[in-house]
């Protein structure tokens, strides 16, 4: 894991602060394009609030559609941060260094984006306050803690708060570097944000402990978040194909699958956008590709089990939904596409080492996984609801409206915009982590070959 050349602290500062101190020429034009893209979403949201949910394709019984699909999708992406940062930090995996911050920041922005989806989905967003927060002291009416729809915000807000604080604590030493490299107003702002960081032994000791301790504390929250999201579905006894005990682990591993794929794609983008070839190296993408093979296969196992669990009881209603998913057009075609692009195609692409080190192929595989995982959530939500009622005359299918489509597309613009703006103000690769990796670098002579190695502190 030490393929690149040795880097000096000055080079690391110069390269990794480039996005903040010398933004590339394309930066502001891209920001303008993304802002316009987001404004499309804001406009359609306004139309939706003004006209009501009638402008969407939602109906009875399919009351959950694209927005809830997108909500689950973004929650899934948010799991990348903890997966990479916490697990790899605890395992002391050397190749985590360039990936952690981008993954953690992606967690925050995708969680924030995910939260907007159910808020828009309720039609009258201000009413969410009534349903979620216990504040109604005057009338004595409180949110029902027995509802998974109340568990959900409690888990997501816990995860969002924890992830944000995790990122901010890890940013302090890098903010001190920015303080030392800026002048004027920027210097004053970074001075305040860096909290008077000096970099003494005590501060570094707690910075290292913070990484490990917070990783250990956030991991159980990370598992709980997608488990609870899965219970939005799993607890609904009346919806066949949803009411399954396997949903929690199945959702968690699915989230990791899509999240890590998204992080790989973001890392490839950062590498080419900011010229970080020395930091985000092909060996890192290769390692993530190998990890993804394991995660994808674990996810595929749960997918098979979920289908087998559903069919094993041979309940007529459940079999009817499954028959629809696998036998009826267009669901059967979507199912084949979904399985192909989420597992078979990407895993086939990740198997050869030369493919894992080809950034175009890795990008294709990671985008393929994420399109597939979006489709997976759609294929869970809509067919289940379409056959929710016992009488055939209440069966209904779902066709998203252009409003929903534009809203969903704008969320991708929003996450990209937030990431780009973050990179303009804060470094997206942790400088001190890279510097630490540099002085722990070593070479070991084994016979006639020299093996790159890393000294690890226990």
């Amino acid at each position: 894991m030490q393929e690149g050349r040795a880097l000096t602290p000055t080079e690391i500062n110069r390269d990794l602060l480039r996005s903040v101190l010398e933004p590339p020429k394309w930066f502001w034009p891209v920001v303008v394009i993304l802002t316009l893209w987001v404004l499309v979403g804001v406009t359609v949201s306004g139309i939706m609030i003004n006209r009501g949910l009638g402008v969407t394709g939602l109906n009875r019984p399919v009351a959950w559609g694209f927005m809830i699909t997108n909500f689950v999708f973004w929650i899934g992406i948010s799991h990348a941060g903890v997966m990479l940062s916490a697990i790899l930090r605890l395992a002391k995996a050397e190749w985590r260094r360039p990936a952690t911050r981008a993954a953690e920041v992606l967690t925050i922005f995708s969680l924030m984006t995910a939260l907007t989806m159910p808020i828009m989905h309720v039609g009258r967003p201000w009413r969410v306050l009534y349903w979620v927060f216990p504040y109604d002291f005057a009338r004595g009416i409180w949110p029902s803690v027995r509802s998974p729809l109340v568990w959900d915000p409690s888990a997501i807000l816990t995860y969002l708060t924890s992830s944000t604080l995790f990122v901010l604590i890890a940013l302090v030493p890098d903010l001190a570097v920015l303080r030392d490299h800026t002048t004027g107003v920027a210097h004053r702002i970074y001075s305040v944000l860096s909290l008077g960081w000096q970099g003494n032994a005590r501060q570094w000791k707690f910075q290292v402990i913070a990484g490990v301790l917070l990783s250990a504390l956030i991991l159980p929250v990370f598992v709980s978040v997608h488990s609870i999201v899965s219970w939005d579905f799993g607890m609904a006894a009346s919806v066949k194909s949803w009411h399954s005990t396997i949903f929690a682990p199945y959702f968690v591993i699915g989230a990791v699958h899509s999240g890590v794929s998204a992080v790989v794609f973001v890392m490839i983008l950062l590498r080419s956008m900011f010229g970080w070839q020395e930091y985000i190296r092909k060996e890192h993408i290769d390692a993530l590709g190998r990890l993804l093979i394991v995660v994808a296969t674990g996810w595929f196992y749960f997918l098979c089990m979920e289908i087998i669990f559903g069919l094993y009881g041979r309940e007529a209603d459940e079999v009817a939904v499954r028959t629809m998913q696998f036998m009826e057009y267009p669901w059967n075609v979507l199912m084949i596409i979904f399985a192909g692009i989420t597992y078979f195609l990407p895993v086939a692409l990740w198997l050869p080492r030369s493919f894992r080190r080809n950034l175009w192929i890795m990008s294709l595989a990671c985008i393929s996984v994420n399109v597939g995982m979006w489709l997976e959530r759609y294929l869970i939500i809509v067919p289940g609801l379409a056959r929710k009622q016992v009488f055939t005359f209440t069966w209904q299918t779902y066709m998203p409206s252009i409003t929903e489509l534009l809203l969903i597309l704008s969320t991708f613009g929003l996450v990209s915009l937030l990431l780009l703006l973050f990179s303009r103000v804060f470094p997206l690769v942790p400088l001190y982590d890279i510097k630490e990796g540099e002085f722990l670098r070593a070479k070991v002579q084994v016979g006639r070959s020299t093996v790159p190695a890393t000294i690890r502190e226990d």
Binding site: T10, G140, W142, G199, R202, Q203, K205, K435, E436, E457
Partner: protein, 175 residues
Amino acid sequence: MAKRPLLGLFDSADRAADAGDALKKAGIAETDYDFLTDAPYPEGAFGERAEHHRLYIYPMIGAVLGLTSGVMLTSMTQMAFPMVQGGKPILALPPMAVICYEGTMLGAILFTIFGILFESRLPAGKLGLYDTRITQGFIGVLVHCEDAEHGKVSGILSSAGAVEVKWENARAATA
């Protein structure tokens, strides 16, 4: 007499460690000097003092407070509006456990963050004697000593290989 800081800048970890050894030998207390770096060096790399802390208590206190808040929130709100749903008890443990769990974890994490900042002595009101070259890979040896000792300490740092020794009123001695 009040102690004032003195900062020696070194371009290598070995020289900074040598300076630490020389300061110890000269009778400067371990609590009076510190090493400033731009990355977390392995503990004891400069022969610095061991740092003691009680950080592990913070998440426990936070977890207990978070759990208590979770139990109060779930039980008191349900008791305030006791509506039976699906024939289940008003205070049903499985759903309460979910909120209590999140409360526990949130409390533990918030208190850990507070503990990290407190134990790191952050936010520090004033940066104090510092040099921006520290974030470019130089190692700073910050010594707090009485005015009478400044000459001696400055000499120790210079002979250990400091590229520059500076003190608070910005007077600097370049080696």
